[in-house]
Subunit: 192 residues, 2 copies
Amino acid sequence: MTRWEPGAQERLAGAAMELYAYKGFEETTVAEIAEAVGLTERTFFRYYADKREVLFAGSEVLEQQMVAGAADASADATPLEVVKAAVTATAQYFPDERRPFSALRATVINANPQLAERELRKMSTLAAALVHALAERGIREPAATLAAQSGVTVFRVSFAQWIADGNERSFADIQHDMFEQLGALTGAVAAG
Amino acid sequence: MTRWEPGAQERLAGAAMELYAYKGFEETTVAEIAEAVGLTERTFFRYYADKREVLFAGSEVLEQQMVAGAADASADATPLEVVKAAVTATAQYFPDERRPFSALRATVINANPQLAERELRKMSTLAAALVHALAERGIREPAATLAAQSGVTVFRVSFAQWIADGNERSFADIQHDMFEQLGALTGAVAAG
Protein backbone atom coordinates (compact mmCIF):
# COMPACT_ATOMS: atom_id res chain seq x y z
CA MET A 1 0.00 0.00 0.00
CA THR A 2 1.36 3.39 -0.97
CA ARG A 3 -0.39 6.61 -0.10
CA TRP A 4 -0.58 9.81 -2.10
CA GLU A 5 2.58 11.89 -1.68
CA PRO A 6 2.18 15.54 -2.64
CA GLY A 7 4.92 16.59 -5.05
CA ALA A 8 6.37 13.09 -5.07
CA GLN A 9 6.83 12.98 -8.83
CA GLU A 10 8.70 16.29 -8.94
CA ARG A 11 10.90 15.30 -6.03
CA LEU A 12 11.69 11.95 -7.62
CA ALA A 13 12.49 13.61 -10.95
CA GLY A 14 14.74 16.17 -9.27
CA ALA A 15 16.61 13.55 -7.25
CA ALA A 16 16.95 11.29 -10.28
CA MET A 17 18.43 14.08 -12.38
CA GLU A 18 21.00 14.98 -9.74
CA LEU A 19 22.04 11.37 -9.33
CA TYR A 20 22.18 10.78 -13.09
CA ALA A 21 24.29 13.89 -13.56
CA TYR A 22 26.76 13.43 -10.74
CA LYS A 23 26.89 9.67 -10.30
CA GLY A 24 25.99 8.55 -13.84
CA PHE A 25 22.76 7.28 -15.39
CA GLU A 26 23.84 3.64 -15.57
CA GLU A 27 25.26 3.72 -12.07
CA THR A 28 22.10 5.05 -10.41
CA THR A 29 19.45 2.65 -9.09
CA VAL A 30 15.77 3.31 -8.59
CA ALA A 31 16.25 2.47 -4.90
CA GLU A 32 18.78 5.31 -4.60
CA ILE A 33 16.49 7.78 -6.29
CA ALA A 34 13.59 6.89 -4.01
CA GLU A 35 15.78 6.89 -0.92
CA ALA A 36 17.17 10.34 -1.73
CA VAL A 37 13.71 11.83 -1.24
CA GLY A 38 12.49 9.48 1.49
CA LEU A 39 10.18 7.48 -0.74
CA THR A 40 9.99 3.82 -1.71
CA GLU A 41 10.81 2.10 -5.00
CA ARG A 42 7.15 1.24 -5.23
CA THR A 43 6.28 4.94 -5.20
CA PHE A 44 8.82 5.57 -7.96
CA PHE A 45 7.20 2.93 -10.15
CA ARG A 46 3.80 4.53 -9.61
CA TYR A 47 5.08 7.53 -11.60
CA TYR A 48 7.72 6.10 -13.92
CA ALA A 49 8.04 2.76 -15.71
CA ASP A 50 11.83 2.88 -15.42
CA LYS A 51 14.87 5.13 -14.90
CA ARG A 52 14.83 6.25 -18.50
CA GLU A 53 11.27 7.46 -18.38
CA VAL A 54 12.21 10.20 -15.88
CA LEU A 55 14.16 11.77 -18.75
CA PHE A 56 11.51 11.41 -21.42
CA ALA A 57 8.21 11.60 -19.55
CA GLY A 58 7.46 15.07 -20.94
CA SER A 59 7.87 14.19 -24.62
CA GLU A 60 4.18 13.69 -25.30
CA VAL A 61 3.14 16.90 -23.57
CA LEU A 62 5.74 18.78 -25.60
CA GLU A 63 4.40 17.33 -28.82
CA GLN A 64 0.81 18.11 -27.84
CA GLN A 65 1.77 21.73 -27.10
CA MET A 66 3.47 22.06 -30.47
CA VAL A 67 0.48 20.64 -32.30
CA ALA A 68 -1.92 22.87 -30.32
CA GLY A 69 0.29 25.87 -31.10
CA ALA A 70 0.15 25.06 -34.79
CA ALA A 71 -3.65 24.78 -34.61
CA ASP A 72 -3.78 28.30 -33.10
CA ALA A 73 -1.99 29.90 -36.07
CA SER A 74 -4.26 31.97 -38.30
CA ALA A 75 -5.82 30.32 -41.34
CA ASP A 76 -3.68 32.33 -43.78
CA ALA A 77 -0.37 31.77 -41.93
CA THR A 78 2.64 30.80 -44.04
CA PRO A 79 4.26 27.38 -43.35
CA LEU A 80 6.98 28.95 -41.21
CA GLU A 81 4.48 31.11 -39.34
CA VAL A 82 2.59 27.94 -38.41
CA VAL A 83 5.84 26.35 -37.30
CA LYS A 84 6.78 29.42 -35.30
CA ALA A 85 3.41 29.34 -33.55
CA ALA A 86 3.94 25.65 -32.81
CA VAL A 87 7.49 25.95 -31.52
CA THR A 88 6.97 29.09 -29.43
CA ALA A 89 3.94 27.46 -27.78
CA THR A 90 6.42 25.19 -25.99
CA ALA A 91 7.84 28.11 -23.99
CA GLN A 92 5.14 27.66 -21.33
CA TYR A 93 6.61 24.22 -20.70
CA PHE A 94 10.03 25.73 -19.99
CA PRO A 95 9.61 28.56 -17.47
CA ASP A 96 12.76 30.08 -15.99
CA GLU A 97 12.51 28.01 -12.80
CA ARG A 98 12.82 24.85 -14.88
CA ARG A 99 16.23 25.84 -16.28
CA PRO A 100 18.45 24.11 -13.69
CA PHE A 101 16.53 20.87 -14.17
CA SER A 102 16.69 21.15 -17.96
CA ALA A 103 20.40 21.91 -17.88
CA LEU A 104 21.10 18.87 -15.69
CA ARG A 105 18.98 16.75 -17.99
CA ALA A 106 21.00 17.88 -21.02
CA THR A 107 24.22 16.95 -19.20
CA VAL A 108 22.86 13.48 -18.55
CA ILE A 109 21.64 12.99 -22.13
CA ASN A 110 24.90 14.17 -23.67
CA ALA A 111 26.97 11.88 -21.45
CA ASN A 112 25.18 8.73 -22.65
CA PRO A 113 25.08 7.78 -26.35
CA GLN A 114 21.94 5.66 -25.98
CA LEU A 115 20.08 8.48 -24.29
CA ALA A 116 21.37 10.90 -26.93
CA GLU A 117 19.94 8.62 -29.63
CA ARG A 118 16.61 8.53 -27.88
CA GLU A 119 16.68 12.33 -27.71
CA LEU A 120 17.41 12.51 -31.44
CA ARG A 121 14.47 10.21 -32.05
CA LYS A 122 12.29 12.47 -29.91
CA MET A 123 13.27 15.46 -32.07
CA SER A 124 12.51 13.44 -35.18
CA THR A 125 9.07 12.59 -33.75
CA LEU A 126 8.41 16.27 -33.04
CA ALA A 127 9.35 17.12 -36.64
CA ALA A 128 7.00 14.42 -37.91
CA ALA A 129 4.16 15.83 -35.77
CA LEU A 130 4.81 19.27 -37.24
CA VAL A 131 4.86 17.91 -40.79
CA HIS A 132 1.51 16.26 -40.08
CA ALA A 133 0.06 19.50 -38.66
CA LEU A 134 1.23 21.38 -41.75
CA ALA A 135 -0.11 18.73 -44.11
CA GLU A 136 -3.52 19.00 -42.46
CA ARG A 137 -3.52 22.68 -43.39
CA GLY A 138 -2.91 21.74 -47.00
CA ILE A 139 0.79 22.64 -46.99
CA ARG A 140 2.53 20.27 -49.34
CA GLU A 141 5.97 18.71 -49.58
CA PRO A 142 8.74 19.74 -49.60
CA ALA A 143 7.59 22.96 -47.90
CA ALA A 144 6.07 21.08 -44.97
CA THR A 145 9.24 19.16 -44.13
CA LEU A 146 11.56 22.11 -44.76
CA ALA A 147 9.49 24.28 -42.44
CA ALA A 148 9.02 21.58 -39.78
CA GLN A 149 12.73 20.72 -39.68
CA SER A 150 13.61 24.39 -39.50
CA GLY A 151 11.26 24.71 -36.54
CA VAL A 152 12.92 21.81 -34.75
CA THR A 153 16.33 23.35 -35.49
CA VAL A 154 15.23 26.60 -33.89
CA PHE A 155 13.84 24.68 -30.93
CA ARG A 156 17.11 22.80 -30.39
CA VAL A 157 19.40 25.78 -30.84
CA SER A 158 17.19 27.94 -28.61
CA PHE A 159 17.15 25.26 -25.98
CA ALA A 160 20.95 25.03 -25.95
CA GLN A 161 21.17 28.81 -25.53
CA TRP A 162 18.54 28.82 -22.83
CA ILE A 163 20.32 26.26 -20.62
CA ALA A 164 23.80 27.70 -21.26
CA ASP A 165 25.73 28.90 -18.22
CA GLY A 166 25.02 32.51 -17.46
CA ASN A 167 21.93 32.83 -19.64
CA GLU A 168 19.20 34.98 -18.12
CA ARG A 169 16.86 35.34 -21.09
CA SER A 170 13.55 33.50 -21.26
CA PHE A 171 13.08 30.58 -23.64
CA ALA A 172 10.40 32.57 -25.48
CA ASP A 173 12.76 35.54 -26.06
CA ILE A 174 15.53 33.30 -27.31
CA GLN A 175 13.21 31.44 -29.67
CA HIS A 176 11.94 34.68 -31.14
CA ASP A 177 15.51 35.83 -31.71
CA MET A 178 16.54 32.49 -33.27
CA PHE A 179 13.67 32.57 -35.77
CA GLU A 180 14.87 36.02 -36.81
CA GLN A 181 18.45 34.83 -37.10
CA LEU A 182 17.37 31.82 -39.15
CA GLY A 183 15.48 34.10 -41.52
CA ALA A 184 18.47 36.42 -41.86
CA LEU A 185 20.85 33.51 -42.45
CA THR A 186 18.80 31.58 -44.98
CA GLY A 187 17.09 34.51 -46.68
CA ALA A 188 20.51 35.89 -47.67
CA VAL A 189 21.29 32.93 -49.93
CA ALA A 190 17.86 32.84 -51.53
CA ALA A 191 18.42 36.40 -52.71
CA GLY A 192 21.90 35.56 -54.05
CA MET B 1 43.09 -17.63 -49.30
CA THR B 2 40.80 -15.24 -51.14
CA ARG B 3 41.79 -13.67 -54.40
CA TRP B 4 40.96 -10.21 -55.66
CA GLU B 5 37.49 -10.06 -57.17
CA PRO B 6 36.92 -7.10 -59.47
CA GLY B 7 33.73 -5.27 -58.48
CA ALA B 8 33.17 -7.64 -55.58
CA GLN B 9 32.30 -4.89 -53.11
CA GLU B 10 29.72 -3.30 -55.40
CA ARG B 11 28.16 -6.67 -56.19
CA LEU B 12 28.00 -7.58 -52.50
CA ALA B 13 26.45 -4.21 -51.64
CA GLY B 14 23.86 -4.55 -54.42
CA ALA B 15 22.91 -8.09 -53.43
CA ALA B 16 22.76 -7.14 -49.74
CA MET B 17 20.45 -4.22 -50.43
CA GLU B 18 18.05 -6.33 -52.47
CA LEU B 19 17.94 -9.03 -49.81
CA TYR B 20 17.51 -6.48 -47.00
CA ALA B 21 14.69 -4.78 -48.90
CA TYR B 22 12.74 -7.83 -50.01
CA LYS B 23 13.54 -10.40 -47.35
CA GLY B 24 14.27 -8.12 -44.38
CA PHE B 25 17.49 -6.88 -42.80
CA GLU B 26 17.29 -9.13 -39.75
CA GLU B 27 16.30 -12.15 -41.82
CA THR B 28 19.23 -11.90 -44.24
CA THR B 29 22.49 -13.71 -43.50
CA VAL B 30 25.96 -12.85 -44.74
CA ALA B 31 26.12 -16.31 -46.32
CA GLU B 32 23.05 -15.50 -48.42
CA ILE B 33 24.48 -12.19 -49.56
CA ALA B 34 27.75 -13.79 -50.61
CA GLU B 35 26.00 -16.70 -52.28
CA ALA B 36 23.75 -14.37 -54.28
CA VAL B 37 26.79 -13.08 -56.15
CA GLY B 38 28.83 -16.27 -56.16
CA LEU B 39 31.29 -15.18 -53.49
CA THR B 40 32.22 -16.53 -50.09
CA GLU B 41 31.44 -15.19 -46.62
CA ARG B 42 35.16 -14.65 -46.23
CA THR B 43 35.14 -12.30 -49.20
CA PHE B 44 32.21 -10.39 -47.68
CA PHE B 45 34.15 -9.85 -44.47
CA ARG B 46 37.11 -8.54 -46.43
CA TYR B 47 34.95 -5.54 -47.36
CA TYR B 48 32.45 -5.21 -44.51
CA ALA B 49 32.72 -5.86 -40.77
CA ASP B 50 29.06 -6.89 -40.62
CA LYS B 51 25.67 -6.69 -42.35
CA ARG B 52 25.04 -3.23 -40.99
CA GLU B 53 28.21 -1.77 -42.40
CA VAL B 54 26.95 -2.32 -45.94
CA LEU B 55 24.37 0.35 -45.17
CA PHE B 56 26.71 2.84 -43.54
CA ALA B 57 30.07 2.28 -45.21
CA GLY B 58 29.81 5.56 -47.14
CA SER B 59 29.20 7.80 -44.12
CA GLU B 60 32.79 8.89 -43.73
CA VAL B 61 33.25 9.68 -47.41
CA LEU B 62 30.07 11.74 -47.32
CA GLU B 63 31.33 13.71 -44.34
CA GLN B 64 34.72 14.26 -45.97
CA GLN B 65 33.05 15.57 -49.11
CA MET B 66 30.94 17.98 -47.10
CA VAL B 67 33.94 19.27 -45.20
CA ALA B 68 35.96 19.59 -48.43
CA GLY B 69 33.05 21.45 -50.04
CA ALA B 70 32.94 23.87 -47.12
CA ALA B 71 36.68 24.46 -47.44
CA ASP B 72 36.18 25.37 -51.12
CA ALA B 73 33.74 28.18 -50.32
CA SER B 74 35.17 31.67 -50.81
CA ALA B 75 36.71 33.44 -47.83
CA ASP B 76 33.88 35.98 -47.62
CA ALA B 77 31.06 33.46 -47.95
CA THR B 78 28.13 33.81 -45.53
CA PRO B 79 27.43 30.91 -43.15
CA LEU B 80 24.69 29.52 -45.37
CA GLU B 81 26.81 29.93 -48.49
CA VAL B 82 29.49 27.79 -46.83
CA VAL B 83 26.86 25.23 -45.91
CA LYS B 84 25.45 25.29 -49.42
CA ALA B 85 28.94 24.66 -50.84
CA ALA B 86 29.37 21.79 -48.37
CA VAL B 87 26.03 20.14 -49.01
CA THR B 88 26.03 20.48 -52.79
CA ALA B 89 29.53 18.96 -52.91
CA THR B 90 27.89 15.66 -51.96
CA ALA B 91 26.04 15.50 -55.31
CA GLN B 92 29.04 13.80 -56.94
CA TYR B 93 28.51 10.96 -54.48
CA PHE B 94 24.94 10.49 -55.71
CA PRO B 95 24.98 10.30 -59.51
CA ASP B 96 21.74 9.31 -61.24
CA GLU B 97 22.83 5.68 -61.67
CA ARG B 98 23.02 5.35 -57.89
CA ARG B 99 19.36 6.22 -57.39
CA PRO B 100 17.92 2.67 -57.41
CA PHE B 101 20.48 1.58 -54.81
CA SER B 102 19.83 4.66 -52.64
CA ALA B 103 16.07 4.17 -52.88
CA LEU B 104 16.37 0.53 -51.80
CA ARG B 105 18.65 1.55 -48.96
CA ALA B 106 16.08 4.09 -47.72
CA THR B 107 13.38 1.39 -47.77
CA VAL B 108 15.60 -0.83 -45.64
CA ILE B 109 16.46 1.95 -43.17
CA ASN B 110 12.87 3.07 -42.76
CA ALA B 111 11.67 -0.47 -42.11
CA ASN B 112 13.99 -0.99 -39.14
CA PRO B 113 13.87 1.36 -36.10
CA GLN B 114 17.46 0.57 -35.06
CA LEU B 115 18.78 1.36 -38.52
CA ALA B 116 16.66 4.51 -38.59
CA GLU B 117 18.29 5.61 -35.32
CA ARG B 118 21.72 4.96 -36.71
CA GLU B 119 20.76 7.04 -39.75
CA LEU B 120 19.60 9.88 -37.49
CA ARG B 121 22.91 9.69 -35.66
CA LYS B 122 24.73 9.86 -39.00
CA MET B 123 22.83 13.06 -39.86
CA SER B 124 23.69 14.46 -36.46
CA THR B 125 27.36 13.65 -37.07
CA LEU B 126 27.21 15.42 -40.44
CA ALA B 127 25.70 18.48 -38.77
CA ALA B 128 28.46 18.45 -36.14
CA ALA B 129 31.12 18.27 -38.88
CA LEU B 130 29.51 21.27 -40.57
CA VAL B 131 29.38 23.22 -37.31
CA HIS B 132 33.07 22.48 -36.86
CA ALA B 133 33.88 23.62 -40.42
CA LEU B 134 31.96 26.86 -39.82
CA ALA B 135 33.61 27.44 -36.44
CA GLU B 136 37.03 27.10 -38.10
CA ARG B 137 36.05 29.97 -40.37
CA GLY B 138 35.28 32.10 -37.34
CA ILE B 139 31.50 31.76 -37.61
CA ARG B 140 30.09 31.77 -34.13
CA GLU B 141 27.13 30.24 -32.36
CA PRO B 142 24.21 30.23 -32.82
CA ALA B 143 24.75 31.06 -36.51
CA ALA B 144 26.99 28.05 -37.04
CA THR B 145 24.49 25.52 -35.71
CA LEU B 146 21.48 27.20 -37.34
CA ALA B 147 23.24 27.17 -40.70
CA ALA B 148 24.61 23.63 -40.31
CA GLN B 149 21.26 22.16 -39.28
CA SER B 150 19.57 23.97 -42.13
CA GLY B 151 22.09 22.41 -44.49
CA VAL B 152 21.38 18.94 -43.17
CA THR B 153 17.65 19.62 -43.51
CA VAL B 154 18.14 20.54 -47.15
CA PHE B 155 20.27 17.45 -47.65
CA ARG B 156 17.61 15.16 -46.17
CA VAL B 157 14.65 16.73 -47.93
CA SER B 158 16.53 16.78 -51.23
CA PHE B 159 17.49 13.16 -50.80
CA ALA B 160 13.88 12.13 -50.21
CA GLN B 161 12.83 13.98 -53.37
CA TRP B 162 15.68 12.49 -55.36
CA ILE B 163 14.82 8.86 -54.55
CA ALA B 164 11.04 9.39 -54.86
CA ASP B 165 9.24 7.28 -57.48
CA GLY B 166 9.18 8.98 -60.84
CA ASN B 167 11.83 11.59 -60.06
CA GLU B 168 14.12 12.33 -62.99
CA ARG B 169 15.97 15.38 -61.69
CA SER B 170 19.58 15.21 -60.53
CA PHE B 171 20.44 15.44 -56.85
CA ALA B 172 22.35 18.67 -57.55
CA ASP B 173 19.33 20.31 -59.22
CA ILE B 174 17.03 19.31 -56.39
CA GLN B 175 19.42 20.59 -53.75
CA HIS B 176 19.72 23.92 -55.50
CA ASP B 177 15.95 24.21 -55.63
CA MET B 178 15.56 23.22 -51.96
CA PHE B 179 18.03 25.88 -50.79
CA GLU B 180 15.94 28.42 -52.68
CA GLN B 181 12.73 27.11 -51.17
CA LEU B 182 14.25 27.19 -47.69
CA GLY B 183 15.25 30.81 -48.20
CA ALA B 184 11.79 31.72 -49.45
CA LEU B 185 10.13 29.91 -46.54
CA THR B 186 12.25 31.22 -43.72
CA GLY B 187 13.03 34.65 -45.12
CA ALA B 188 9.32 35.42 -45.20
CA VAL B 189 8.99 35.27 -41.41
CA ALA B 190 12.12 37.29 -40.73
CA ALA B 191 10.65 40.12 -42.78
CA GLY B 192 7.32 39.89 -40.94
